[in-house]
Symmetry: C2
Subunit: 434 residues, 2 copies
Amino acid sequence: MRVLSSDIDQFVDQTITIQGWLHKKRLLGGITFINVRDRHGIIQIVVEDKNEIEKLRGLQIGTVLQVSGLVKKEERAPGGFELHKVEISVMVPVSDEPPIEIDKPLSHKSDNLDTLFDNRVIGLRNLAEADIFRLRSIIVTYIREFLLQQDFIEINSPKLVGGAAEGGAEVFTLDYFGKEATLAQSPQLYKQIMVGVFERVFEIGPAFRAELSATTRHVSEVTMLDVEIGFIENHNDVLKLLESMLYQVLTKLYQTSANVLKRLNVPDLVLKPDFPRFKMSEIHDMYQRATGHDVSQELDLIPDEERWVCEYAKKNLGCEAVFATDLPESKMKFYHMKGENDVARSADLLFRGVEISTVPQREHRYEELISQMKKAGIDPNSPAFAPYVSAFKYGLPPHGGFGFGIDRLTQKVIGLSNVKEAILFPRDINRLNP
Amino acid sequence: MRVLSSDIDQFVDQTITIQGWLHKKRLLGGITFINVRDRHGIIQIVVEDKNEIEKLRGLQIGTVLQVSGLVKKEERAPGGFELHKVEISVMVPVSDEPPIEIDKPLSHKSDNLDTLFDNRVIGLRNLAEADIFRLRSIIVTYIREFLLQQDFIEINSPKLVGGAAEGGAEVFTLDYFGKEATLAQSPQLYKQIMVGVFERVFEIGPAFRAELSATTRHVSEVTMLDVEIGFIENHNDVLKLLESMLYQVLTKLYQTSANVLKRLNVPDLVLKPDFPRFKMSEIHDMYQRATGHDVSQELDLIPDEERWVCEYAKKNLGCEAVFATDLPESKMKFYHMKGENDVARSADLLFRGVEISTVPQREHRYEELISQMKKAGIDPNSPAFAPYVSAFKYGLPPHGGFGFGIDRLTQKVIGLSNVKEAILFPRDINRLNP
């Protein structure tokens, strides 16, 4: 029976059989040391017998092996154990050298990204690269766990849609049996419709944007979390939902995955259950006092302000997540509820220096929504919008929600310089493969 | 504080406040009875006070209400309780009658499907319709729970791809910044690539097929579960994985959701941990003996045979899921492993009369794969396939997997006549909205 690298410590002085990929091979004074990788990590193996060494001749990294041997404690080995007196059998031979080095820590250098993604299929076998997607899977699992605990229902809304939910030019279009279809930029309209059925819904799925810019930040396909909640009192309820979710997900991640986070040199988490809240104008003032940079005329926070306020809150308030409240109405979309005095019923969540999500209350009143749609140049009677507005015509309660990229959150949690590093096979203007 | 319909039994003879949608209204001897729907069900409310009755005048189904009142036991009321001495406040008035009746059981009649989907946004507020998607969310949750327990990692593969994974004409294409992209028909290539990283991966996400047929079965967007597992001994390991998964998911669903299943008149589950296995030729023989219908020349099971063998196994072996093994090689795709004597290393899973999934071992040997690709007319060096074959060139262990539609499984579990009834907003050749 196969033993995994993580269980080897239970078999000291016993003979076991492992299976995995040849991950590293070196010769040291007539003895061959190999590392074999399985889904939980690395096992060091000492090959002294000439016949066994011979079996490895000409075989390259990636060769799939089965190895039987005696488990010995060895402090210098990865994991603290190694196999001795081994018998090797080659399951799948590999005779070519891999196109990319897979036994190095993460480089995090943006200028290497093209090489990284050109060789992504093999590069992901790097333990550090794989760790990124292990953490991503755990983050997604904890998000679902929280939302299901809070009585949310998971939905799947269509990605082939008749019209662009938020308008704009950055939409992929395709021929749909002679009609024009677009790829969904977000489940916005569908999650609001579903509040009328389940009150609380979420979806984790792909969203598409035809981003013409080739900057590091722009990708044409992302994995979005979308959440919507009905019967709220005001938009503060939505902020509270998001902060409890992030607090539970991240503190649990740091508790359960400490070893993986350490391997990736992820900084400590500095978080409180209640995130500090500042009005946008307060942040402008604080930033200006601290840096001398006049931002009072800015309609939004400038990127350096976002970094600054997260650092400020981390140092002085023990929390590296911040809500920027009292945003100007001009930022709002047609489905957002207007506030008073040109201040929107909305806030931005900032985490580790960047905006993660906008967290607004929606306009749930039919007449007001129709009027805001018309102002935004959208025809409420068009086939793409008529079903949406019918949800309001036949009764939707006060509601709000938020959405953010799973890629983006994973990037910021791990501290990757580029969001694409948190996507298995990223897509941008220049990249459609692998 | 708001009390939900499911918690009302804890407040007998107390005054509580509920919120929800007006779901039904009737007059009986000067008294108005209304049902209010919230996310957990229905609360019956007795309105006797003339002022309160007046507040409801002209208001239609869907009106969002807040109602305070005294909880009384009443066996004839849905849930066994009702509210008396109520004070109503209208949160969101609705003045138009809904376009579709939402207080009826499921009709299950295919000729009503167009009406159903034309009015889907409001029709989903029918308790029975909503129950379908409540069960679907639970099924997905239990599938994930099983796979995570079995050490699988959840991935998100791209839906915008450079070439069609399985060839064929039923592919949506679109302009991708001047190049041609296709919408992924399945994560097949990506999940195999990821076996080289994590050994065990799964994905739940959309898959797209440009189905030109307008039959009841054809939809152009489905939600697929895809599973792939490495280091198997043979394809039997994949069959065992699928049967343990289905057994755990379905038995748990029947245990935890008995009330919802009963509301939908879902038949009892007849399942054993080990599904009966029959060779395809055995099924042909058994079917011929039972029905007199000669199917010995059929390359595949005919639909009536699939129904018959599931019924047969249910009655005689206590299991309504069956594996049809020893399929002919002619059914196999280029990435499947060939067997011996023209028999594929694969099986079909049949459940409640239909094929749910094909469960093969993959060809993991580089040279054999290249040769099978060429035979299938696929260029292994093309940009869409070169990264895929590199995963094999640099070592993939024996592996296998399966995929099936979450929609299809939900349909068969509940006993819906059409797969579209298990999709929130179905897409077919005639339908791109809502």
